[in-house]
């Protein structure tokens, strides 16, 4: 299972071009969904207004190298290590989902566009596809059953689904059915169970990418921008938070 390309076997019944068109349509759905989200929720207007207010309230102008340094620190902390989370469990879960999803998407694109009919797909690619999906499942299920705030703090059932579950729910269902389909297809070639699992995989994958305007999918674009803006406001003196205390009161 870890050494086979799930899309190579599928290419015997579905032309690779159809799979590639589907993948491009999903990428377009994410781009259009994010743009619609920006327009419909007026997020762009909100960010622009906040930026103008911050510029007006700035007590000092930042040099180019200072802005570049802030961007580098945002990438280093908020983007690459999910450092904005205050609890290590949520940070670890988010890192598993984030890196798992990136690995899963990159390897899917490689398998679809580079090795759709290849006699042998490089085993690191196929292995990483499985590992990425398992990382998403591990982080996602941990979050879904133990870390969701309404489950952890309000003692609600994890199965009480709300709109905020649309992203994580469709992502989990997509990778879970993808893995199951790959497992069944590897063991039994094409059969009824394999076709059913493939249909579920396509259904939830489509839901994941088409539901961008209603889910929190676009947070992967917004969050880094918001984190950078927050750092910039703090550095320019425009933040509405008090300045940090100059001395420590802790006696050690």
């Amino acid at each position: 299972m870890f050494s086979s390309n799930p899309f190579t076997l599928l290419s015997q019944s579905v032309p690779p071009l159809v799979m590639q068109i589907y993948a491009i349509l999903m990428m377009l759905a994410v781009a259009l969904g994010t743009l619609f989200d920006l327009y419909h929720k007026r997020s762009w207007e909100f960010f622009s207004l906040r930026r103008k207010r911050a510029e007006a309230a700035a007590q000092r102008q930042l040099a180019g190298w200072q802005i570049a340094s802030l961007a580098a620190r945002t990438i280093g902390k908020e983007v690459l290590t999910s450092g904005e989370f205050c609890k290590w469990q949520r940070q670890a879960s988010h890192l598993l989902i984030m890196y798992g999803f990136v690995i899963y998407v990159v390897t899917t694109v490689l398998m679809l566009f580079v090795y759709p009919r290849a006699a042998r797909t490089p085993s690191p690619v196929t292995a990483l596809w499985n590992i990425g999906a398992l990382m998403v499942l591990a982080g996602g299920l941990w979050f879904f059953f133990a870390l969701k705030v309404n489950v952890a703090h309000e003692k609600q059932s994890p199965f009480r689904l709300i709109r905020a579950d649309l992203f994580v729910g469709s992502l989990l269902a997509s990778v879970a059915f993808g893995l199951l389909w790959h497992l069944v297809q590897t063991a039994h070639k094409v059969g009824a169970a394999s076709l059913f699992l493939l249909a579920c995989y396509i259904l939830f994958t489509t839901l994941l990418f088409v539901s961008v305007p209603w889910s929190k999918f676009a947070h992967m674009f917004y969050k880094p921008v918001a984190a950078f803006q927050k750092r910039r406001e703090e550095a320019s003196g425009a933040s509405d938070l008090p300045a940090p205390a100059k001395t420590s009161n802790i006696i050690r």
Binding site: F85, C86, P242, P244, A245, N249, I251
Partner: protein, 148 residues
């Protein structure tokens, strides 16, 4: 002046839900972010404002008597044992204050559950729990020792 949550900053960690003594900080059922379900019942204790690690909770007056954009922002620094306030008055003045809140490291105080269970025989003793060790004395005077 009840609290309200800036949903762009809230990451849904639940700290305010845990700490609110009035149990009015809850989780929104659509976006899974915190919000004040009943501002009229807010005690204005600022517990949630100080506890929020994302500084997502602000305090504002009702629009009918405080319509001119005042602001109260809080920064609690556990590692320094201090809490700082930035007050923006309605006439535009801004003042900042910093106060010590503790002198011992955060998390260093033992909770009641971390002590050993008291001996049931202690019920017949005139001493209170953890006396005399918590008072840092060897022994407390008793009636018998006073008579002697």
């Amino acid at each position: 002046m009840p609290t309200f949550v800036d949903m762009m900053r809230c990451d849904g960690c639940g700290e305010c839900v845990e700490i609110c003594p009035s149990d009015i900080m809850h989780i929104d059922r659509t976006y899974r972010r915190a919000y004040n379900i009943e501002p009229n019942f807010c005690w204005e204790c600022y517990s949630c404002v100080k506890a929020c690690p994302q500084h997502a909770i602000d305090v504002r007056g009702y629009a009918d008597f405080a319509p001119m954009g005042h602001k109260v922002r809080v920064l609690r620094e556990k590692e320094k044992g201090s809490v700082s306030w930035k007050i923006k008055y309605r006439d535009g003045r801004v003042k900042e204050f910093t106060f010590p809140i503790r002198t011992t490291p955060w998390g260093s105080i033992k909770g009641p559950g971390e002590y050993e269970a008291p001996d049931p025989k202690g019920l017949s003793s005139p001493l209170l729990a953890h006396e005399p060790t918590a008072l840092k004395v060897a022994a407390l005077p008793t009636l018998a020792s006073v008579k002697d």
